[in-house]
């Protein structure tokens, strides 16, 4: 179970960074299409994750992330691995 506060924080930073309405960010929605991301935008995604959640992203992290729900789980799992409080 992912803490709702974490989900809200993720949604908030994604909406602000990629200039989409926060209402469009729902767990089942496709991440790349909703945020209109291409490979260059993923550079910003990496920076955003590292600055806001304090862990280092590696290339294989993005494999398998298709929806926002996948993304929430990814952030949550990495934070748990890191052992840092959210």
């Amino acid at each position: 179970m992912i803490d709702q506060a974490l989900i809200d924080k993720i949604n908030s930073v994604l909406a602000e960074e990629f200039e989409v309405e926060i209402e469009r960010i729902i767990p089942e929605a496709p991440l790349m299409q909703t945020l209109d991301l291409d490979s260059l935008d993923l550079v910003d995604m990496v920076v955003l994750i590292e600055h806001n959640f304090g862990f280092t992203v590696v290339a294989k992290d993005f494999v398998g992330i298709k929806t926002f729900n996948d993304f929430y789980h990814y952030i949550n799992n990495r934070l748990n691995e890191k052992g840092a409080p959210e």
Binding site: D38, S39, L40, L42, V43, D44, V46, V47, V58, A59
Partner: protein
């Protein structure tokens, strides 16, 4: 900013491995002068038989530089010839013939401090002059040079580099449209305190571009190198190697003055504007050493 453009470069540079190997052979067996002499004739072949390149050089000379028809014919020949000389010289230099050349360094103190410090750096160059001839120079600071290259171009020259044992002179970071791996490789190289060299003037297929005036006419520049430079914490240095005469090169360095805004989203435009000013300055000093043989301007 948009993706794709009819001007897009194919990702492969003109000239195949056979041509490259002919010059390597000549250099080894007959020396630099013989290679220059052969080049004088080879250029005559390229003018009619590389029509799209010739057309782009003609446009550059007539419309951008404002040369007359006669001057443009001479310019055309000199442009191709200079490209050939650049190819020969970089091959000679990387083969250990450094003592045949004179290198002059325009290296401000702030650049020296960064290059000799412990941090990595992003080096942004251009398809101008002969940047590779100076690449081994960066090794004097004991740091590794990584060159970011389109995957298609890398595949094209990989066998040659391996065959000529040049693969160790610098590491190549291949960029593919389908993968994000290069972003992480670049970041890791910077974190290790290494240099990462990118070319700031070449569009990629389906790559995003930023259109700005360059030499008086709007041209699309690739967004990727400037986004990468903006988002890393590393210093950004513009670097150009200008051929000033027979076996004589000047290396020009300029440190980009980064601030908080240039490190954020949108900061790429600030870096590009600064890069463009430096590029314009060096291109105006040696317009025949500009080697973008495709429709560069809109």
């Amino acid at each position: 900013m948009k993706k794709g453009h009819p001007n897009d470069w194919s990702g492969k540079s003109r000239g195949g491995s056979a041509g490259y190997l002919v010059f390597v052979f000549l250099l080894k067996r007959l020396g630099l002068s013989a290679a220059y002499l052969l080049l004088a004739f080879v250029v005559l072949y390229f003018i009619p038989f590389a029509p799209s390149s010739t057309k782009s050089v003609w446009f550059y000379s007539r419309r951008i530089l404002g040369n007359s028809v006669i001057s443009s014919l001479i310019f055309l020949y000199r442009n191709y010839y200079n490209l050939g000389v650049a190819l020969i010289d970089k091959t000679a230099a990387s083969s250990g013939l450094y003592d045949k050349f004179t290198f002059i360094f325009d290296e401000p103190t702030d650049v020296k401090e960064i290059l000799s410090g412990s941090s990595g750096a992003i080096i942004i160059g251009a398809h101008f002059g002969n940047w590779e001839v100076g690449a081994p120079y960066f090794g004097k600071y004991g740091k590794r040079m990584n060159v970011v290259m389109m995957d298609a171009e890398y595949r094209n020259i990989k066998n040659i580099l391996e065959k000529e044992n040049k693969i160790g002179a610098f590491s190549v970071i291949p960029v593919s449209e389908e993968s994000l791996d290069h972003v992480f490789i670049i970041r890791d190289a910077i974190a290790r305190g290494e240099y990462v060299a990118l070319q700031g003037d070449r569009l990629t297929i389906n790559g995003k571009n930023i259109k700005i005036p360059f030499l008086g006419r709007v041209a699309p520049f690739p967004q990727g190198p400037f986004v990468l430079a903006s988002r890393t914490e590393a210093p950004v240095i513009f670097y150009f190697a200008i051929r000033e005469g027979f076996r004589r090169y000047r290396f020009v360095f300029k440190l980009f003055n980064a601030d908080n805004t240039s490190r954020r989203k949108g900061g790429e435009l600030k870096i590009l504007e600064s890069y463009k000013m430096e590029l314009e300055r060096v291109v105006k000093s040696a317009p025949e050493q500009w080697y973008n043989f495709y429709k560069f301007w809109l």
